[in-house]
Amino acid sequence: MRIASLIIAAACALASTAATAQTKVTLWSHWAAEKIKRDFVEDAIRRFEAANPGVKIEAQWYEKTALYAALKTALRAGTAPDIFYAEPDQTEYMENNLLLDLSSLNWGGIEPWAKEIWSHKGKPYGLPLEAWTVELFYNKKLLADLGIKVPSSMQLDAAAMTDLVKKARVRNQTPMALGAGDRPFPGAHLTHEALLKRLGVADYDNLLTGKLSWSDARVVDTLRTLRSWIDAGLLPTTFTTLKLGESHSYFHTNPGAVLFLNGSWYTSRAFNPPDKGGQPPNFPLGIMKYPAMPQAVCNECRTISVGGSFVVNAETKNGRQAIAFLNSMATPETASRWLENVLVQTGIKADYSKVGGPHAGYFKELAATSQGARYYFGIPIQKMQGKQKEVFTQVFNNAFPAGTISVDDAVKQMNAAYAK
């Protein structure tokens, strides 16, 4: 009996020391250069550590490509961090069982479609922190100078768009800033938003999953409309090599463009101080909807997708703490804080009408473009794999907007990529 109680006492002593010992949780993330998002995450870490003494989260910040490279090898070598940044198109993590099942997260506080995007074989694997839509930003002053008015629907029609392109070029201005130099998605925004409107959610999904042929008359027709804009000089001459960061300053600083087609996370760069790549002070920023396409089935359709998310390493020894940290972010308060500071949508449930803060006005405009919208969840490269993804990226992110591939050849390439 005495020995038993000694053992129990020893066990209790050990347990309590274990409980008060510091648990170190490692976290690797993108956004090294995006101050606003980085500050948000670091703030969330501080709040969590304050609420959970004994747990310390050590964050390491990277640029996206460097992060992905480091993770690929670290996961293979078994030296990956407990929590890391990931985006839903990285299905290779889930397919290789490298992520911890997050079913025990507080999913009631998260948008169901966001949970769906991160689900693989019925189980969820990521906290969808960032969500974004594709928005058409514009320079109010330049647009007014061209004599073009945005209707109350906040959406130009195709004819007005063609007109805009012509008028801007006459004045030697670039109608739309866009650059595919260092990312696989910006150029494709031009095409996929147009196709979504023309086809509607169901057929657009069929198109991306290979059930609808790219030779469909509606697809070809839409591509021809886009091609006419491109041929009229829609995009910068340096489109192919223009980097993402450069395309932002191309729009708002130098040389300045009328429009800018970008994800709604535009603000996380634009609202930085000007010497860090942000907008000039008092920049006349406006937002409108992507132009209506002729004969479209669903001009109010738009894409929303999940961006930066956090996932947990399947081999972590600190699973409990990691999940607790993620849960600490799955609350309406966190969502409001994200919205007010980062000014991008989020996959966490939030009351958009209650968003305050210094940029509340901007957020109201952003919300206005999404009014009455029907959503399609995910950008094309999040839906495609392997060869289709590669061909789509080369054709629609790079070549088609650059005008170096004809509509017929583009269609042929895509059909060939989907053929079994």
Partner: protein, 298 residues
């Protein structure tokens, strides 16, 4: 070449001398080759490796991106030697004629070879820039505005533009080698030709070229091998784009191994294994074809 005719083999010494080199070779060259070939028959994932037999090879046969890359690499490896050695020959002959300032020219022309492909790539991306690059700027000042183009942005022009860069780099090197070869020619033969009243053209074709043929062939083969391996330059300039017009086997393999959304290293290993065989066969074929024409005529 004299060999030391000792009869008793000091095996201890021999093994000791060969050990460091052979250890490194086995660990870092021989073993990886074998392991890559082994990988090519498996799906190689982080936690497991499953045997798939010839599945990867079957997929490779149908992979048109791979064959496109092979085509591009071969075009490069065949066009480059001709350009590089041809220009080099002209330059070497020019210098052989004892133009003043020879040493200066020699040094200046050799510099491109010293620079890393990374440096060369960055500089030439600037030169090829559509708006302010030197290439288009020169064309515009010469009034040839029509010919200004997006040199590495246009799928039809990208590969020739890159070939132009390697030609720029290696012509100087080849020139220096040929010059050394020319200088090592027996002067009696040339003098004899002069006495025979040979014209410059005939002298060139019938005497000089046959005499330096071994060197010429060596340079062609070296250039061919070098272009079959090329990676750095493409990676810095176009990364295989636009539309796979500059995709080489090395860039395609890198992408499949490290950039596509998969952890599988088996398929990229298959690419490596097949390419290995293709390169060996090509080099063997080339040297055999060239060697049969290597007859010195006096």
């Amino acid at each position: 070449m004299q060999r030391n005719p000792i009869d008793r083999q000091p095996w201890g010494a021999i093994s000791a001398f060969l050990l460091p080199a052979l250890t490194i070779y086995t660990a870092f060259t021989a073993y990886p080759v074998l392991r890559t070939i082994w990988n090519s028959f498996h799906r190689v994932l982080p936690r497991k490796e499953e045997f798939v037999g010839l599945a990867n090879y079957a997929a490779l046969a149908k992979d048109d991106l791979f064959w496109r890359a092979v085509g591009n690499t071969f075009i490069w490896a065949c066009a480059s030697p001709l350009a590089e050695v041809g220009i080099a020959l002209f330059l070497a002959l020019a210098l052989y004629a004892r133009v003043p300032g020879m040493r200066f020219f020699r040094i200046a022309w050799f510099t491109p070879v010293l620079m890393s492909y990374v440096v060369v790539g960055i500089i030439w991306v600037w030169i090829y820039n559509y708006d302010w690059g030197a290439a288009n700027a020169i064309l515009r000042t010469l009034g040839l505005e029509r010919w200004a183009a997006a040199w590495i942005g246009d799928p039809k022009l990208a590969l020739p533009s890159l070939i132009f860069i390697t030609t720029w780099m290696w012509s100087g090197f080849n020139m220096v080698v040929l010059l050394a070869a020319l200088h090592s020619l027996p002067s009696e033969v040339i003098e004899a030709a002069e006495l025979d009243n040979c014209g410059w053209g005939a002298k060139l074709w019938h005497i000089i070229i046959p005499l330096i043929k071994p060197t010429l062939l060596n340079l062609l083969v070296l250039s061919f091998i070098g272009k079959m391996k090329i990676f750095d330059l493409v990676w810095i300039t176009t990364k295989g784009g636009p539309l796979w017009s500059t995709e080489t086997v090395s860039t395609y393999l890198y992408k499949r191994a490290f950039e596509w959304s998969t952890f599988d290293l088996g398929y990229p290993s298959t690419i490596a294994a097949v390419w290995f065989v293709i390169v060996l066969l090509a080099v063997l074929g080339l040297t055999r074809a060239l060697r049969s024409r290597e007859k010195l005529e006096y």
